[in-house]
Structure formats: structure tokens, C-alpha cells
């Protein structure tokens, strides 16, 4: 967007006060999506998060599980690496155990519904394709300087994610990522 276009858009936004203009004017680099690519462990791992937590993504790729902000990590086994790097990327049926693709995330949800605690907590979940109770699909590709992914992940069963109290739960995640690849090393 050149300077003149920005001035015109800003003026229009001031007159119209539209919602879309808010998003354009509020661009905050700290909240933009970023992704870290890690291939140290024989598994190709992509960790997604917002730029204000960029410094933490490397630790997550190494196995850390911070529970103070939202993030998503996808592990791709070596047999799918070349396909991941192709323009089409990979498409994974999560009900199939053919490839040990992992999906891990920390997300916001209520703290403990069984205990009537509906305040907000960050919860952790981690699955491997083929796990009991897991369904959905996952698409992921590396396109130049960007990592692009779309995930529909559903799991149901007895879980202890809510403050350690076992209870039945089903969680569905619908996520779209188009994130700039970063290197923290």
C-alpha cells in the first residue's frame, strides 16, 4: 500500500468508521502470526504462534510446553518431509495411523466445567494421527518464506486437561495459518 493510498483509506475510514478499517489501522507487528521450522530431531516440526512469543517457539520445538499463551505445533515424520516442502504440501487424515503426524496445541477454554468453573484457562492437548477418539484432517505446506496450514482436529473421550479432574469432553479446532517463517537461532 503506497502512501497516497494509505492517506485516502485513512480518510475514508474516518468518515465511514467501518469495522474493516479498524483492522487495517491496528496492525500490530507483535500480534502477527509467525512459524518456526525445526528439523533437529529427525522429525520436521512447525511451531505456530504470534510474533510477541517468537522467542518461545524454539523451546516449544525442543519439547517445552508453556501454558501461558496459545501456540500450535505440528510434527511431520521424515517420510513426508519432501512432500511437505513441495508446493502442494501434505494432507493428513487424522484417523489413519499410516504416518505418525503429531498435533499439539495450547488454547484458551474454560478451566473446569465439571466443577462449574467457567473462567478462562490455557489447556494443553497433544495427539498422534490414529489415536483413539481423534478425527479430522490437516493440511500443511511451506511456500517460500511462509508456512501455510489448515487444520480441522476433533478429539473426544475422557480427559484430565481440566485441572486434572477426569471428565468426558469433545474438542474441535478449526485453524487457518499463513505465517511468516522465522529463525530464532
Amino acid at each position: 500500500m503506497n502512501g497516497m493510498t494509505r492517506v485516502v483509506l485513512s480518510t475514508l475510514c474516518g468518515i465511514l468508521g467501518s469495522i474493516g478499517c479498524d483492522a487495517q489501522n491496528d496492525l500490530d507487528p507483535a500480534r502477527l502470526p509467525v512459524a518456526l521450522l525445526d528439523e533437529d530431531s529427525g522429525v520436521t516440526t512447525l511451531v505456530f504462534g504470534s510474533a510477541d512469543h517468537q522467542a518461545d517457539l524454539d523451546d516449544i520445538a525442543e519439547g517445552a510446553k508453556p501454558l501461558t499463551f496459545a501456540w500450535t505445533a505440528v510434527g511431520v515424520p521424515s517420510e513426508l518431509r519432501d512432500q511437505l516442502l513441495s508446493p502442494e504440501g501434505i494432507g493428513v487424515d487424522l484417523t489413519s495411523a499410516d504416518h505418525a503426524v503429531t498435533f499439539t496445541q495450547v488454547y484458551a477454554d474454560v478451566c473446569n466445567p465439571a466443577a462449574n468453573d467457567f473462567s478462562s484457562c490455557y489447556l494443553y492437548e497433544s495427539y498422534t494421527a490414529g489415536d483413539e477418539g481423534l478425527s479430522g484432517s490437516l493440511q500443511l505446506a511451506l511456500q517460500g518464506e511462509r508456512a501455510v496450514g489448515r487444520f480441522a482436529v476433533v478429539w473426544e473421550g475422557i480427559t484430565d486437561r481440566f485441572q486434572g479432574q477426569p471428565q468426558w469432553h469433545r474438542h474441535e479446532t478449526s485453524t487457518g495459518f499463513a505465517a511468516t517463517l522465522v529463525d530464532e537461532r
Partner: protein, 197 residues
């Protein structure tokens, strides 16, 4: 008429009356097949993820505290339990370039016996059944992922209620919204009864 015969006849009459009442009651109930118990409006706007979330358990179309009401009747077999589905209608306006997600949670508790109609939802002995949640993330940049949609999610059927036959069960539902952006969360509770036959 012998005494025993008189007692049997009285019991039969009571049974007929009870059956007629139950039949009449069931005949007047809607099917509890697919029903919406709440509406949520989510607006993901701006870089800080500020926005508004409004939701309510629609009872009497008013802002009065929700009270027990009839949802309807449903067969107590596997097909009926799967066919009875509680839904939250969620409208999403995603106009943000930021990376964050919003989760809508629907939690259910079972109540026996069903408290009287018009009593508050906190009445009765409550047992947790379970919960379902739906998280929608948007971490797409550059912008162009603006998304306006209406989704019937999350959905919670009654497959877990395997022991309810010829009983009326009460359910307390709590709909909650939380966000990874710091957006203010909210929750609201409603209650209803289903006649399983």
C-alpha cells in the same frame, strides 16, 4: 365386589388415568431432536483482539433469569439419543490481522428429579455429564482472511445418557466463551427437560 377386586379395579383406573396423562403430555411435546439453546456473537477485530461477545440462553425471549422449561420428547434408544442434539449458534466476524483464537464451550449437567417449571436453573441435584468445545483460530497474514459466517457449533448430543428410559431428565447447560487474545470471556446458564420414552 370383593375387597381385593375393588383394590385391583382402583389401581387399574389409576393406571389408565396415569397413562392418559402421560400420553397427553407426550402428545403435546415437541420432539427434542435438534435444538438451539444459545446464540453467540464473536467479533475478532483489531490487533489487540478486542471485541464483543454476546450470548444468551433463549428463554421467553427476555432478559429474565432462565427457568426450567420443556424441550420435548425423544426416544431413549441409541438412535434417539444421537438424534437429540443441543446446538449453539455462533456467528463469527473475523476482521483481524492478529493471531488468536476464540473457544465456545457447552457444558452439561444432569438433574434428577426435574425441578418444577419456572424454578431457577440452580435448583435440583446436579451431576456433570460432559462438555464440548469449538475453537476457531485465525492466524493468517497478510489480511484477506476476513470471514463472516454462522455456524451451528459446538453440538452436543445425548449419547452419554444410556440409562434413561421412560424418565424425564433435566439438563443444565452453560455456554462460555474464552479467547487467547485477552478478550473478555462470558458465560450464561439455562435449563430444560427432555422426556425419554
Amino acid at each position: 365386589m370383593k375387597r381385593g377386586t375393588a383394590i385391583s379395579a382402583s389401581l387399574l383406573l389409576l393406571a389408565i388415568i396415569a397413562t392418559r396423562d402421560a400420553s397427553s403430555q407426550i402428545a403435546n411435546l415437541d420432539w427434542a431432536d435438534e435444538f438451539v439453546t444459545g446464540r453467540v456473537n464473536v467479533k475478532m477485530i483489531g490487533s489487540s483482539g478486542h471485541g464483543t461477545i454476546d450470548h444468551f440462553f433463549d428463554q421467553n425471549g427476555s432478559d429474565e433469569p432462565p427457568t426450567w422449561t420443556w424441550m420435548g420428547g425423544q426416544g431413549a434408544n441409541q438412535g434417539g439419543r444421537a438424534n437429540a442434539r443441543e446446538k449453539v449458534m455462533t456467528s463469527w466476524y473475523e476482521g483481524s490481522s492478529s493471531c488468536f483464537g476464540v473457544t465456545i464451550n457447552l457444558a452439561r449437567r444432569r438433574v434428577f428429579p426435574v425441578p418444577g417449571l419456572n424454578q431457577g436453573c440452580n435448583s435440583g441435584q446436579q451431576t456433570p455429564v460432559g462438555s464440548v468445545s469449538y475453537t476457531k483460530n485465525s492466524c493468517v497474514f497478510p489480511a484477506g482472511d476476513w470471514d463472516i459466517s454462522m455456524r451451528a457449533k459446538p453440538v452436543f448430543d445425548f449419547a452419554l445418557d444410556t440409562s434413561l428410559v421412560n424418565q424425564t431428565a433435566g439438563y443444565v447447560s452453560t455456554i462460555s466463551s474464552t479467547s487467547s487474545s485477552g478478550m473478555a470471556g462470558a458465560s450464561l446458564t439455562g435449563c430444560y427437560a427432555i422426556s425419554w420414552f
